[in-house]
Subunit: 220 residues, 2 copies
DNA sequence: GAAAATATACCGCATCTGTGGTAATCGGTG
DNA sequence: CACCGATTACCACAGATGCGGTATATTTTC
């Protein structure tokens, strides 16, 4: 701390860039290095060297392209995120391919921006992802949010449940016993039984598992 | 284009506010009306009048509180979004309650910000949601993105299940009884019991629902 | 080849769950 | 006001489930 020089070095966001387009890679590197609060520690033109060197890499944020020859960006995230979960992966790609977005998020990416976004947006995204946020381009965020609506219940019987009934089936789905639910909601276990019976009647089911599957559909 | 006055009037974002806190409601109204590109067309202190008047309401963006006496914000979205899917609902609430976020998104909300965010962020959010984006507070976005990872990467214990054990937990998750599973797999019900017991031991759970939740994670 | 894990199968008991009843209270609707 | 649904609450019984044992044959792993 007695050396402010070292102090500043330590607080700079350590950025790595994985991007096969040489021109863009150099452009990004220059852009990041121009910022006072971040610096590029290493760039990669390919996924393979990134994966093999990742263990040794002291990095905060990785800017990752998706379309690359050999290992694509999603495979890179999958194989490295597990090793150091604190490292944040920011996908930066050309196309807003629906498939890739969800694959990337499932693999462990926490941000997803488009190359068509302004340079200032990329820099903001690096800062946001480093602070615990999840920067996304406007269009990407909408796709992500819409995915929840699509997945939500198509069955009309689910909507007929009262607020209390929804509350109870929700707790039941977490694995709670009647008794635990009754304690949580300050009810008699008998009341919980009655509620669950009414829920089953509305949903036209006759077991806990069926009811949960109907209210919270899963892709089995 | 020849009448800039009319041009601007027509492109103003029409905002409605549903918020039970009178002080905050008035504050928000003033804030929005101060902007050149948006204006408040109506405010509601309660969910009920909002729902009943919604059909008649010519609105682009609804700023919706969640914690309200009577109808809560999520119920409001559920009941109105279906009527006019083009209307955008921006949730603005005090707490980052995990439950509410996903319930709201499933109900049809396309933005979710915290009351602790700066006023300028609310205004940006209104603009973003109107342009087809999905504004979220930094913390909210991270929770939403993480929900994909939780979904994809189950517990490591799940991978330790044998093929037979996976087969059985799968059938159990469909709502089958021990007896039904035994008939399907040409086993004794006793054998199924033993398998399930071993599965629970591996997964470190002690009920059907917990086991199913662990093997087939849902975004509850 | 021995040890460990897996797959098969049974007993018994306590608890949880599903379902048949019944019923009082409250809020809203016709 | 009478009716309906929601919420609360109870009894009883059969069946399902969780968990403590035990046991044998097979397969996998070291």
């Amino acid at each position: 701390m007695s050396f402010p020089y070292i102090y500043f070095m330590n607080t700079k966001i350590k950025v790595a860039i994985v991007e096969d387009d040489t021109e863009l890679r150099n452009l990004l590197e220059k852009l990041v290095n121009k910022q006072p609060d971040m610096h590029v520690i290493k760039t990669f033109s390919n996924g393979k060297p990134f994966i093999s060197e990742f263990k040794m890499l002291d990095v905060d944020v990785v800017i990752m392209d998706i379309n690359m020859p050999g290992k694509n960006g999603i495979e890179c995230v999958t194989e490295t995120k597990i090793q150091k979960p604190h490292v944040q992966f920011l996908i930066s790609t050309s196309f807003e391919n629906h498939e890739y977005i969800f694959q990337a998020l499932c693999a462990g990416a926490t941000g997803y921006i488009l190359k068509s976004d302004k340079p200032s947006e990329l820099l903001d995204a690096i800062r946001t992802i480093n602070e615990g946020g999840s920067p996304m381009s406007m269009q990407i965020a909408r796709l992500v949010v819409n995915s929840f609506q699509a997945q939500s219940q198509p069955d009309d019987s689910v909507n007929s449940l009262s607020a209390r009934q929804k509350e109870i089936i929700h707790l039941l789905a977490q694995g709670m016993f009647y008794k635990e639910i009754s304690e949580r909601l300050f009810l008699s276990p008998m009341t919980v039984r009655t509620h669950i019976r009414n829920i089953y009647e509305k949903l036209h089911v006759n077991s806990k598992t069926e009811a949960i599957n109907k209210v919270f559909p899963r892709t089995i």
